[in-house]
């Protein structure tokens, strides 16, 4: 699981309020190179919850992201920022571990890189 996806997911158990972001418990992190596409990154930057990305990256051992994302206009010229953003968003993989709901403690397992987000019948 890459952080781009972590940034989209919550715990959808009924009644849970504080559900985003899910905390990452990393057991095995791998890195895979992905083609760099600045247009795609700029488009994504506008959609991303920045703090969740920064925290997620930290819990996977990557600490290079700035606390605040630069303005969208400045990003155009800031290649070094885009490279870091690219790495955090797309190249870090959580291969084994869990996504943990901060409120209920519910663990969504990530196994072979695939998060299992389906709820049990008593949670639906």
């Amino acid at each position: 699981m890459r952080l781009i996806v972590h940034n989209m997911l919550t715990c959808n158990i009924k009644g849970v309020i504080n559900k985003f972001p899910l905390r990452i418990e990393a057991e095995k992190v791998i890195k895979k190179e992905v083609d760099f596409n600045p247009d795609f990154l700029r488009h994504m930057l506008a959609k991303i919850e920045w703090k969740a990305l920064v925290d997620g990256a930290r819990s996977m051992g990557y600490t290079e992201l700035p606390d605040h994302a630069p303005d969208t206009e400045r990003v155009e010229s800031d290649e070094s920022f885009l490279k870091k953003f690219h790495h955090a968003l797309l190249e870090l993989h959580l291969e084994e571990g869990s996504l943990v709901c901060q409120e209920t403690g519910r663990k969504f397992p990530v196994d072979k890189g695939v998060p299992n987000m389906v709820l049990r019948e008593d949670e639906v």
Binding site: M8, G113, L119, E121
Partner: protein, 475 residues
């Protein structure tokens, strides 16, 4: 500029929509629909069509990326006879002809016939008749700079079951581009390491990716990803992909470390999906506020028995347990949640809702929808949503009674709460119509059983076919 667009005689309903989607992808004005014209005396299912495009470059890009364009040509002349053809070619301006006839270029003339075969000598004779075109270049049969085609379609003959045209027509033109069907043997399902019973055929998957305008820099999502065959085609066209499925054995395990959804991408050297998830599209875990994240959603939703839809939490209360059913503490980690049936109507509703929220503006939703082929030819009601405009409807006939229709919808309105209410009303109406229609034929039990082509012939007496006879699974 008008181009002669010659199609393969396949998947007839998919041909123009493919060109239209690609025209938009390659920069043709997307507000105005493409203009099409038929040659004289031809009907809509003919291989020959004229299409208006703003440049040769667009025409070439469309043809190269398509699956169903046999050839796109700059027309130099046409006629009902060789005399008419000659007049017509002579009237075509020199300024358009001479650049392609120069002495330092190479060329080839090919003869193609429809509805009859020509001997080698007959072809020779036709090529030799072009003395009135001042070809100055050298002939090169293998790799010419310019490819010219003479195409002859004869009257009277039935062609492939296609109703005959009334008059012979001859075309002569310069080829601008053609479909790269070499993709198909490479990507055919037989070559796929991880296959499932409902994997999408490679040609259809590419057509779906074209409808979705999949391209580099875009993110394409399949909420019913299965073995990933639809996303493989989107990845081949450069898109980033993401998929989800409720079946964890398929989406996570496959048949082992080298035979799973990921390996289906790796085997072709394609980038693997940015994510594969196990989730229920009836209860998706998206964070609130997330929207307009995908450029396209493409899928073959779980209809019918072959891949019947499931959703979480449907199990009946077990005897002796207290309501509501709770999973015992010690069984929780390995517990596989039970699933309940997921009706077509509900499944389509969830899909439209997902797309309305998650697609960017002008993003495309491309999906199959099953239909009962109606003997009275009455209109089929397709699902609707106020955020979407239906831009293409392409039917693939599966048997004498069932078809599936590929629907292409474009997001034209942003998602909002007001829209949500309008969508709910549309959904209720659709649901009611659909329930009525379901009673007439049990589509769930039969639409996606592997199609039996023999049925098409044997059953035809009891069933008045609304589509012409030559239409079948591949046409």
């Amino acid at each position: 500029m008008w181009f002669l667009c010659v199609f393969y005689h396949r998947l007839l309903d998919f041909r123009k929509p493919e060109v239209e989607a690609l025209a938009e992808l390659f920069g043709e004005e997307d507000e105005s629909p493409l203009q099409w014209r038929l040659p004289e005396h031809h009907h809509n299912d003919t291989p020959f069509h004229f299409v208006h495009l703003s440049s040769e470059e667009i025409a070439q890009n469309i043809a190269k990326r398509s699956l169903l364009v046999k050839g796109m040509y700059e027309l130099w002349g046409e006629g009902a006879s060789y005399e008419e053809l000659k007049d017509s070619i002579e009237r075509f301006p020199d300024s358009r002809k001479l650049p392609f006839l120069a002495s330092d270029s190479t060329f080839r003339i090919s003869v193609e016939t429809f509805g009859k075969a020509l001997t080698f000598d007959e072809q020779r004779e036709r090529i030799d008749s072009f003395t009135y075109v001042p070809f100055k270049g050298k002939v090169n049969l293998k790799n010419p700079d310019h490819n010219f085609f003479l195409m002859e379609m004869d009257e009277s003959e039935e062609n492939n079951g296609l109703q005959p045209i009334l008059q012979r027509r001859i075309f002569f033109g310069r080829e601008v581009g053609f479909a790269d069907r070499k993709l198909l043997p490479t990507f055919q399902l037989k070559s796929r390491t991880y296959l499932g019973p409902t994997a999408m055929d490679a040609e259809m998957a590419f057509l779906m990716a074209n409808q979705a305008k999949a391209a580099s820099g875009k993110l394409v999502y399949d909420p019913f990803v299965g073995t990933g065959s639809i996303l493989v085609s989107a990845a081949r066209f450069g898109a980033m992909t993401m998929g989800a499925d409720i079946d964890i054995r398929v989406v996570r395990d496959g048949r082992g470390p080298d035979c799973n959804v990921w390996s289906n991408f790796k085997q072709y050297g394609l980038p693997t999906p940015v994510a594969l998830l196990r989730m229920d599209n009836n209860l998706p875990p998206w964070r609130s506020g997330l929207k307009e994240i995908f450029d396209a959603i493409i899928c073959d939703p779980p209809y019918g028995v072959r891949a019947g839809g499931r959703k979480s939490g449907g199990r009946k209360i077990l005897k002796g347990t207290v309501d509501p059913y709770t999973v015992p503490e010690d069984k929780r980690t390995d517990h596989i949640p039970s699933t309940g049936a997921y009706s077509l109507v509900e499944c389509v509703h969830d899909l439209l809702h997902l797309a309305a929220r998650m697609l960017v503006m002008k993003g495309r939703l491309v999906f199959f929808f099953p239909v009962l082929r109606d003997e009275n030819g009455s209109e089929v009601k397709f699902p609707e949503h106020p955020c979407f405009k239906l831009v293409a409807v392409s039917e693939q006939i599966l048997s004498s009674r069932y078809s599936r229709v590929l629907l292409t919808m474009v997001k034209v309105e942003p998602y909002s709460e007001v829209i949500e209410e309008a969508a709910r009303l549309m959904h209720l109406e659709f649901r009611e119509n659909h329930l009525k229609w379901l009673e007439e034929g049990n589509i769930h039990s039969s639409v996606f059983k592997p199609s039996d082509t023999s049925e098409i012939r044997t059953d035809s007496k009891s069933f008045k076919d609304p589509k012409p006879k030559y239409r079948g699974k591949y046409v």
